[in-house]
Symmetry: C2
């Protein structure tokens, strides 16, 4: 604490990311990184970077990268925005579409970034509880749960985090139809792994924004690169906001690497397919060990050893004990000591070999 800090910084509760412990004996299943490397084309692009593209400012509009993404998704270039990770895009979107409006609606259990940004920008959060089965209660969004002043927009991840559960395109369409006067922001950070993307709806709904990241499905967490897709007036809102605060967010190396990644579709599909296959195997094995596993469409699963009764009157370990015991063996997964989450574990899908090590350690505990 310092006398020089603002009240804002005094009040902040910083986000604690999963530990970045490294070493050859660490099985790192705690930060939803992709276990497979980026495309060889990406490596080639980075290893061919020229000095001129470093000494000069990057193209502030990421023109080539946006054109590549537009073509890939069948959109126009003015329906595409890029940023320094999808977190930066979310921040700009909150300023462009939600600040100064009535309450912003999002799921009660969801990405921790949303309430933090509401705090910063003075937006009232309106947190909608999940259904009993941990699905997002989309039918409770919009007017159904609006405060007296109404509501100023909707944001949710699809699939949701940390549950991994996705909503269907039909549900999203219904939500968009019912909320045409508000921006609906769908955070598709994990949509590479099986959820139905709402990008296909961009041309039909002027109120829809979809954000994506290169960190998960495209194995580029180290680079910080994200994109948004929306009707051109919404994209213009993001551009105006970006250009007012920081004109050059996406660096030259990330632009080049992003283009190379999109251009290698077959590598991307192979990687996704391997992870989805390992996910299915992992869920099956956890099921057989008596865990409750939510139906994940992400590159992680959310699993619970169950309450004391389900664990033979508590003779088997609870989530906190499992987390700790695995951590001591350098098998890193994620655990939150928070109401509603404190008997659950989030496990990133690694390689088959990493999951084997995970299960070996887990089985020894039960």
């Amino acid at each position: 604490m310092s006398e020089y800090w603002t009240d804002l910084v005094k009040s902040l509760t910083p986000y604690v990311p999963g530990a970045q412990r490294t070493g050859t004996d660490v099985v790192k299943l705690n930060t939803n990184e992709n276990p497979y490397p980026p495309s060889p084309r990406v490596m080639q692009a980075i290893h061919s970077v020229q000095s001129d593209s470093l000494r000069r400012y990057p193209d502030p509009d990421s023109t080539q990268l946006r054109a590549t993404l537009a073509e890939y998704h069948g959109l126009a270039i003015d329906q595409v925005f890029t940023g320094n990770g999808s977190d930066e895009i979310l921040a700009l979107a909150f300023m462009a579409f939600f600040k100064g409006k009535p309450a912003l609606q999002f799921p009660q259990i969801s990405y921790s970034f949303y309430p933090v940004y509401c705090d910063l920008l003075g937006i009232t959060p309106n947190k909608i509880p999940l259904n009993a089965d941990y699905t997002i209660a989309l039918d409770k969004f919009g007017a159904a749960s609006a405060t007296a002043e109404g509501y100023g927009g909707i944001v949710f991840p699809n699939p949701n985090a940390p549950t991994g559960i996705a909503v269907s395109l039909a549900q999203i369409k219904a939500l968009l139809e019912e909320n045409l006067s508000q921006v609906v922001l769908i955070d598709e950070a994990y949509a590479d792994f099986g959820a139905e993307s709402a990008i296909s709806l961009i041309n039909n709904y002027p109120n829809l924004v979809v954000t994506r990241t290169f960190s998960k499905g495209r194995s580029l967490a180290g680079l910080r690169l994200g994109a948004a897709f929306a009707s051109s007036p919404l994209i213009e809102g993001l551009v105006r906001t970006k250009d007012s605060f920081n004109s050059y967010p996406v660096d030259a190396v990330a632009q080049t690497a992003g283009i190379a990644s999109i251009q290698d579709e077959s590598y991307y599909q192979q990687t996704i397919s391997k992870i989805c296959h390992t996910r299915a195997q992992t869920i099956k094995r956890l099921d057989s060990l008596g865990y409750r596993v939510l139906p994940s469409q992400a590159n992680f699963i959310f699993a619970s050893p169950g309450d004391a009764n389900e664990r033979n009157n508590g003779n088997r370990n609870g989530a906190a004990e499992i987390f700790k015991a695995l951590d001591e063996q350098n098998i890193l997964i994620r655990y939150w000591n928070k109401p509603g989450l404190d008997n659950w574990l989030r496990i990133t899908i690694g390689t088959d070999d990493q999951m084997e090590q995970f299960f070996k350690a887990l089985s020894a505990l039960n």
Copy 2:
């Protein structure tokens, strides 16, 4: 304009960066880029990046880079912060030290980022006019120009932009002494080129923050990398703010490149020395052509062809005409059609060859 935009985005006046026109025949002296490439060690570091450092999240604390910077400047690692360009650090500093406090003081003619961020964060700006000779009136800062509510901090670039004029370390010391209860933020984006850095004062003043960038002296504008130096409680304020909003701002490639750049001191010194030599030659030639040139300590100069009288009753060109005529010949410099600046030109120092082309075109105009 869109019905979905917030009042904030409707009210924004986006910053217009200098044109990024490219081509072999373009002489680009408009965005203060370094005309020389980054160190060969930087290129080698980027060309050796491993796929594991891309698929994983970067070290959120930039530990190695901060240790390298700390050693270079004779500070402790907890006195060093890194960010995605110095603009991002300025944004975090405004949140950490100025938001919710009384008016923030900065020079009336200065970096356009400051008033924009004041707007965003609801900080009242208190703009202090420059002296008649375009120097920053440091004696007018602090209590001398405080509003009725007092003042909440001070920020200025050293050297100032777009004038290029630096203040001395003695002046800075006096300012810090007189404002011990407020944060004084010195933006040293251009301090590589001859200004006295205030980093040497970090251990003496708990209220001092100095920001630097790798974009100018270190030829890495394409990468977006900046650093801040301050007492450890102020650095902790920046860290808390960063960790609340975006834990991973500096990507893995930028961290690696930054370390390599700092480690090649002799290359850095050679580059700086060449630019300072070319700057001296450029000022001499502009003087001899009858221009008024401010005494620059930056990698750009601010020059005026003078008023109509000085230009033989206007028979010679004014700044706007010169800017336009050079632009048509693909010689890009910077011009602002704004009160107090509209008869001035900002010219980045390029290579000797680029300056030769600039003077050839300029001489043909007079």
